[in-house]
Symmetry: C2
Subunit: 426 residues, 2 copies
């Protein structure tokens, strides 16, 4: 019987669940795969800390490097958590240099170093699995891993961040304020004390990078993309939009046109009835891909959580047992020519002076920029100001900054500026 020694980095909620799944299935893996799985070491920062699972007899250590270097460890499973990469990245890299298989969950490490790590694993003929880095319990990598054999995926869209989705859903369905919704999310454990990574869409950006890698075999410079925050969205926005049949969702949209990437990463106005993402609420995620052969496939489920994530990592473990060092999965990545934010349809909430000619001036400015007004709805005059809710078509994809600059010259205050996604290809 062949033995595979496993080193586990991290024993938080995900690591604890993962250890239990491995231990529970040792007999079955022996029977089905003819392989004896042995946990050789588990890295924790504090070996004395009380854990959620019973750690009696488990080989805990606070020396991560010793696990990586252990010649009796053939597989490293990383579930370190946290938001940093300084410790995690070198450990994963070293494991691959030593030709060990790796199952990882750190999206930041993969987003920042994915191409390097995958090239290295290919060169060393070891396997790097990363399904747990995006989509929670949705095994998206498993679904698309062989796509490159028979099709191109040129469009991906969805909701990848449960925190932001929970907040938007609460604001829409329960009419909570942003502040109340965030507080509720924190109370339920769907948001951190400092929720910036989530609500400023950096989490979504890293996941977008990973999905482009996974599904499109493409890479883009993270610094070339502006993730947009969901802060500043108001109940006004939700109410006005709902009257018109729309809602707001934290969206990731990536589309290849020619050799360029068009993207939206942040809040987007979507049709309640016609957009598949609108029905995905609470902290759930959805990932949709459009493949040249399979057409549109969409997957939804819990975006995070110990059980969904640990399950996907165990699936990856089984993959490494199959691939076993004589198989190359990674097909390389290409860059894009240009990375362009898609602002071709925008929703704006403006505060406008109640003076004659003001609307005409705004309309004139927009038309001068080649921008058409599709809807212009005014509400609630107070103190000589009223709210204007505007849908515009910006076919030349004028940059937001230029648009904002122009509007400010007209003494217009911009409360919200959110892209509209009118249609998802079915």
């Amino acid at each position: 019987m062949k033995t595979v020694g496993i080193g586990i980095l991290g024993l938080g909620t995900i690591g604890g669940e993962l250890v239990q799944i491995i231990l529970k299935n040792q007999p079955r893996i022996r029977e089905f795969y003819g392989i004896d799985l042995q946990i050789r070491g588990i890295f924790v920062r504090d070996v004395t800390k009380k854990r959620a699972i019973d750690t009696t007899g488990l080989p805990l250590t606070d020396n991560a490097e010793s696990i990586i270097e252990d010649e009796n460890v053939q597989l490293i499973m990383e579930c370190m958590g946290g938001s940093g990469t300084e410790h995690t990245y070198p450990l994963i890299k070293r494991a691959i240099e030593l030709k060990k298989n790796v199952v990882m969950s750190s999206k930041k490490v993969l987003a920042l170093h994915g191409q390097e790590l995958l090239e290295l694993s290919r060169k060393n003929k070891s396997v790097l699995c990363y399904d747990a880095t995006v989509g929670g319990g949705i095994p998206i990598e498993k679904v698309v891993e062989n796509s490159f054999y028979y099709q191109e995926i040129r469009k991906i869209y969805g909701i990848l961040n449960g925190t932001s989705n929970f907040i938007c859903s609460n604001m829409f369905l329960k009419h909570k304020s942003f502040k109340q919704a965030l507080k509720e999310a924190q109370k339920l454990g769907y948001a951190e004390n400092d929720p910036s990574d989530d609500i400023d869409s950096y989490d979504a950006l890293y996941k977008a990078e990973i999905l482009a890698l996974m599904c499109m075999e493409r890479i883009f410079d993270l610094n070339a993309v502006k993730p947009r925050t969901i802060r500043g969205i108001s109940n006004f926005d939700f109410e006005m939009l709902e009257e018109e049949g729309y809602t707001i969702k934290p969206l990731v949209s990536l589309e290849i046109k020619g050799e360029d990437l068009y993207y939206i990463i942040g809040p987007a106005v979507v049709s309640i009835e016609d957009n598949v993402v609108s029905g995905v609420d609470a902290n759930n995620n959805i990932i949709a891909v459009i493949g040249s052969k399979s057409g549109e496939l969409s997957f939804s489920g819990q975006g995070a959580g110990k059980s969904p994530t640990a399950s996907v990592m165990f699936d990856d473990l089984l993959n490494t047992l199959l691939y076993r060092n004589n198989f190359i999965l990674y097909n390389g990545v290409k860059p894009f020519r240009e990375i362009i934010e898609d602002n071709t349809a925008l929703y704006l909430h403006l505060k406008v002076n109640d003076k004659p000619g003001v609307i005409a001036d705004i309309a004139g400015l927009l038309s001068h920029m080649g921008i058409n007004i599709d809807k212009f709805i005014t509400r609630g005059k107070t103190n000589g100001l009223y709210d204007a809710f505007v849908f515009i078509s910006n076919e030349n994809n004028i940059d937001r900054d230029a648009l904002v600059k122009g509007l400010k010259k007209q003494h217009v205050r911009i409360l919200s500026l959110i892209p509209i996604v009118y249609e998802e290809e079915i």
Copy 2:
């Protein structure tokens, strides 16, 4: 370099697409897997018939058995199509007896003989893959194949038949009659000349059998289930239901309660806003599973079509290259104790005599059966008859036949009787 000889059964739309994918990827499989894929034989009923693809140099034969018996064939890929199993089943069985790997697409063969074929493949240590039998381009088997290691799936629901979904969608969205919608489906190639298998829900029944096998590791006797037809659904139904916020979808719902299976296979009344299946239209499919660890995961995409299906079969081919005769995937199946149709909530469209006391009698009858009336809406009195649209709660799950019998005694004509699905667990 290892060679894997492939025998392909069938060269229709799916087979043709599959052959092209294999030929296109021979170089890449050599590079990535170190395996030389060789197509040794392709079975067709008529070698002279003109094909959609260029068959120059392809080893066509009308002798299927010779392909199965060929010692240079290690993998059989079945895409025979058709509605019969008499030829397909023995060929697949013989291949497994000879310890060959098999990738199949015939849902009828798998639904009728799945347990036998899987047990045989386990005994012979060969691999039987069947992702193409259900869900079209949705690689559902890939997603759930390892679930049994870490969780139980006790509920599956979705839309599995594109023909029926197309018809229901057309009736709902475009207000077409059943007849018009069926005609349109046939014109677009979404329905056969004889559409019975699809619209009488036998196709859905076979797929339900396969999903129970795949996801729940359970088996049930096909004869113990009553698939319900979508014939007889009228625009009246759609209009009345839409006013109340409901629509009708061709549903498959399987739920394990204790050791019993509760099912709905056929049309079901579902909330337009609150049910994830309501947004899945045209000929698309959706499959949702509720796992004890992953929670609810749902997958939607094209239910059929040459490209989606051939892609999934190629994915299965790659699986067989990995598993390579030293690996057992099949974990066995258990039967259910009882198979029970779920009639706990029903929608009825009745024709009722316009006489005093009639409603009281109906209400009395229902109450006598332990059935509560949730909604009772009357419309359009003509010729002393009017339409009654009724939502009932049938908590004791009184059998439909008993209910129908009782109502007929009240001289009530039943135009529609459709289960209501109020809530899908999120």
